[in-house]
């Protein structure tokens, strides 16, 4: 097996036991790694009683997986998965950083974390040694403090214990207070301003009493199948990425003005609008005012689309974050009507320290602010906070209430979908019409109403990961934007942003050079990607214990309200057009008219027990 370290570690936190797990070559070829293998592992272990498994209970499994491409393809990433406390399905959520490379160099392709630790703990991987350690002293600490403290402690311990070198910091993923308090909008964080957000796995980590996982590997990356070919392709993709100059210079940050102003598809005031003309929020304002590091990269990345932002003066002095990338420019900015770079960075800095996913918490903060705007929730209910559009400090206060589950924060911590249901019941109103989510997952900052952005009418309703803007159902399925393509990145586990300058075929060639799997374009799209999506789909349809999604492939109601402002004013999709796209998509992926993968499709993909369990659970 080439490209793989060859073994996974299963860490049972309840019994404090570590065991080795191996997958045979045919399983790895069928599921690759990362998101694909996560679907396989979760289904094999939990499929039969999927609807009963509480995502925040000890029976859930937290997966931290690399893929065969990790470390080789530019931009190393880690795939975080498990049963999602947002969708009750399976989400493959990836985060950049050096942790996955350290893990692979330590000889592990991934960690399968089960059970629940008795007290706050962290896991330390040092080559073949894996230890579960006490993390009481960092429990409750914010993101930056947690990282600096644990990283230093371990580094200095190594310096004393292993005298062969001055040690560098280990790779690390961790949670903030939001994860500890099991907020469903919490992410698994890495470095600063890096996070696996979609899916809410910060809450899963918190439910396991797991504060952080650190890894240091001193070995080489695994051998690859055809090193000469791999190096040739590596050189090509590096050169192509380096030539993509706008992307390198501004990262996704340049979209903050463009998507809002030209494409009319950026969330503004909880998606009440999708257009703005705030030149104060254009990327040059960030570049010239707050970027202290203009090229900030993760392992092996020549693109460096991240930028380090620090507010050096004024009322938000001391705030630190990345670019911010487009998504958090939007969700910590335009969606809350915050239109100054410094305030946007301040909010990002606050929510990262608390351990939130910027998209998910931005979605629920926008939702709360709209309820405040409409007088549905009041200042009194918000502990005296006047949650007015554009008031970054007010939003920061509510974010803290959410992280600590204080007052109304306790309900908002459940995420937009569940909060809308709970508050709706309390207020005896339909609040789902203000909830901009799909399958319990807040929708990424790319709307569909103007028709000018990449997501299609059925993208969010039919996507295997709900509102995830990096995994959208798309026609044709072979399009670079489709989730059948991003599945390659999430399962090979490398960065999407180093793939824009090359074709999907190129990436399949790279995968083959690393693994020797000899997978064809057709096999990828029609079999492998479709197989993984079918499992994710089955898990989503079954759902439970609370939300289930059979028969609810829908866009949020807001997407049918005509755009009120901008050059696309009046535009909104027609329901019949959405339904038409849905039917076409179902046909393309082999699902019936209700969106259930047909027995024929599942059997063709070798998913016999998915067929049996799915039909039984749905009563079909």
């Amino acid at each position: 097996m080439r490209g793989y370290a060859g073994k996974f570690a299963e860490i049972n936190l309840t019994e404090e036991k570590v065991t080795e797990v191996r997958f045979d070559e045919s399983t790895l070829r069928s599921y690759i790694g990362g998101r694909g293998l996560a679907a396989k592992i979760l289904w094999d272990r939990l499929g039969e009683r999927w609807d009963e498994v509480d995502p925040l209970g000890p029976e859930n499994i937290l997966l931290l997986l690399t893929g065969p491409m990790t470390g080789f393809y530019p931009g190393g990433r880690l795939c975080v998965s498990g049963k999602s406390p947002q969708s009750n399905g399976i989400t493959g959520s990836t985060v950049a950083g050096e942790f996955p490379v350290e893990l692979k160099c330590a000889g592990w392709d991934g960690l399968i974390i089960t059970g629940r630790a008795k007290k706050p703990s962290y896991i330390l991987v040092k080559d073949s040694i894996i230890e579960i350690r006490d993390a009481t002293h960092v429990w409750g600490k914010d993101g930056k403090q947690t990282l600096l403290k644990l990283s230093k402690e371990v580094r200095e311990e190594f310096d004393k214990k292993y005298r062969e070198r001055l040690w560098r910091e280990p790779g690390m993923v961790y949670i903030g207070p939001a994860g500890e308090n099991k907020c469903r909008v919490a992410g698994v964080q890495a470095k600063w301003a890096h996070g696996a957000g979609y899916g809410g796995y910060g809450a899963v980590m918190g439910s396991k009493n797991l504060k952080a996982v650190l890894a240091k590997g001193t070995g080489p990356l695994p051998e690859v199948y055809d090193q000469a070919k791999m190096l040739e392709l590596l050189d090509q993709v590096r050169k192509a990425s380096i030539a993509n100059d706008v992307w390198r210079r501004w990262g996704t940050g340049y979209l903050g003005y463009y998507v809002g102003n030209v494409q009319s598809s950026e969330p503004v005031r909880n998606w009440q609008e999708e257009w703005h003309d705030e030149k104060s929020f254009a990327v040059d304002q960030f570049e010239s005012r707050v970027w202290v590091k203009r090229y900030w990269a993760d392992f092996g990345c020549p693109t460096a689309c991240e930028k380090l932002s620090v507010v050096r003066c004024g009322e938000f002095k001391g705030a630190i974050t990345d670019n911010p990338d487009y998504e958090t420019q939007a969700y910590m900015g335009t969606n809350l009507a915050v239109f100054t770079p410094e305030a946007n960075i301040f909010l990002n800095s606050v929510i990262e320290d608390l351990g939130f996913c910027g998209i998910q918490v931005g979605n629920v903060l926008g939702f709360a602010a709209e309820l405040y705007q409409r007088g549905i929730i009041t200042k009194e209910e918000l502990d005296g906070v006047e949650l007015k559009w554009g008031d970054a400090k007010a939003f920061a206060k509510v974010a803290e209430m959410i992280a600590k589950r204080k007052g109304l924060g306790d309900i908002l911590a459940e995420g937009t979908y569940r909060a809308a249901l709970k508050l709706g019941k309390m207020k005896n109103m339909d609040l789902l019409k203000y909830a901009v989510q799909a399958k319990g997952i807040g929708i990424g900052a790319h709307g569909i109403r103007s028709g000018l952005d990449y997501p299609q009418l059925h993208s969010y309703p039919c996507g295997a990961q709900g509102g995830d803007h990096t995994s959208v159902a798309y026609l044709p399925i072979t399009h670079p934007s489709s989730e059948h393509t991003t599945m390659l990145m999430d399962s090979g586990v490398y960065c999407m942003f180093n793939s824009f300058s090359v074709t999907p075929q190129f990436q399949i060639d790279f995968l083959n050079a690393v693994t020797g799997f000899n997978i064809s374009f057709e096999e990828w799209y029609n079999e492998i990607a479709n197989r993984i999506i079918a499992i994710q789909r089955a898990a989503l349809l079954i759902g439970g214990p609370d939300a289930k999604w059979f028969g609810s492939d829908v866009n949020p109601p807001r997407f049918y309200e005509p755009l009120p402002t901008g050059p696309c004013k009046g535009k909104a999709p027609k329901l019949e057009d959405v339904e038409k796209m849905k039917s076409e998509y179902y046909k393309a992926v082999g699902w019936d008219e209700r969106g259930v993968p047909t027995s024929e499709t599942l059997k063709k993909l070798g998913l016999f027990n998915v067929d049996t369990i799915l039909k039984k659970k749905l009563g079909l």
């Binding site: 600096l148 062969e164 070198r165 600063w192 590091k293 900030w296 380090l308």
Partner: protein, 178 residues
């Protein structure tokens, strides 16, 4: 041919933290991607504060001085000025690591022998990739050994903690203990 030696300059503020230098170095020396065997290592005591750490070829070579074997396992390559390690003679004592003001050398994770940048015989691979990517954190300069430059270069052989704390002051506007 000029008798000038090469030195790798480092502009810390330009380091993106991409570690392509480590990939290039380990591919060139080990035939594998092997970050902890790379002679150039990017330290990140705090995220955002990434910088390369590698041999500065001190004019007085304290590592060579500290090498206890007879004859010494460590010697100076007259052509490049790099520290040469005779792996047969090295006894893995670690004296060179402790003698180095920057603790730059390390014992190789494979054969446990002292490992130090060899300047790729005058054509450093780490510099090549850094410049190809346009980050330009690393550069090659030529100099005459024994002149003032050599003395100055030694100041780059500092403990990474000191470098990192200095950089936090510069980047974040306040000193962060790392």
């Amino acid at each position: 041919m000029s008798s000038k030696q090469v030195w790798i300059t480092r502009d810390f503020l330009r380091c993106s933290g991409c570690r392509m230098c480590e990939i290039a170095c380990s591919l060139s020396h080990e035939g594998r991607i092997w970050p902890e065997a790379s002679r150039i290592r990017v330290f990140m005591y705090a995220p955002g504060i990434e910088f390369p750490h590698l041999c500065a070829q001190c004019h007085d070579y304290p590592c060579v001085e500290a090498c206890p074997t007879k004859p010494k396992a460590l010697s100076v390559d007259e052509k490049t000025g790099a520290v040469h390690v005779d792996r047969e003679k090295c006894i893995s004592c670690g004296n060179c690591i402790r003698a180095c003001p920057g603790h730059v050398p390390f014992l190789h994770p494979g054969d446990n022998k002292a490992t130090i940048c060899d300047l790729c015989n005058g054509d450093p691979q780490c510099v090549k990739i850094c410049r190809e990517a346009g980050f330009d954190c690393l550069n090659v300069v030529k100099y005459d050994r024994g002149q003032g430059e050599a003395l100055n270069y030694r100041v780059y052989a500092r403990h990474p903690r000191a470098i990192a704390e200095g950089l936090t002051e510069l980047m974040f506007g306040e000193k962060i203990e790392v």
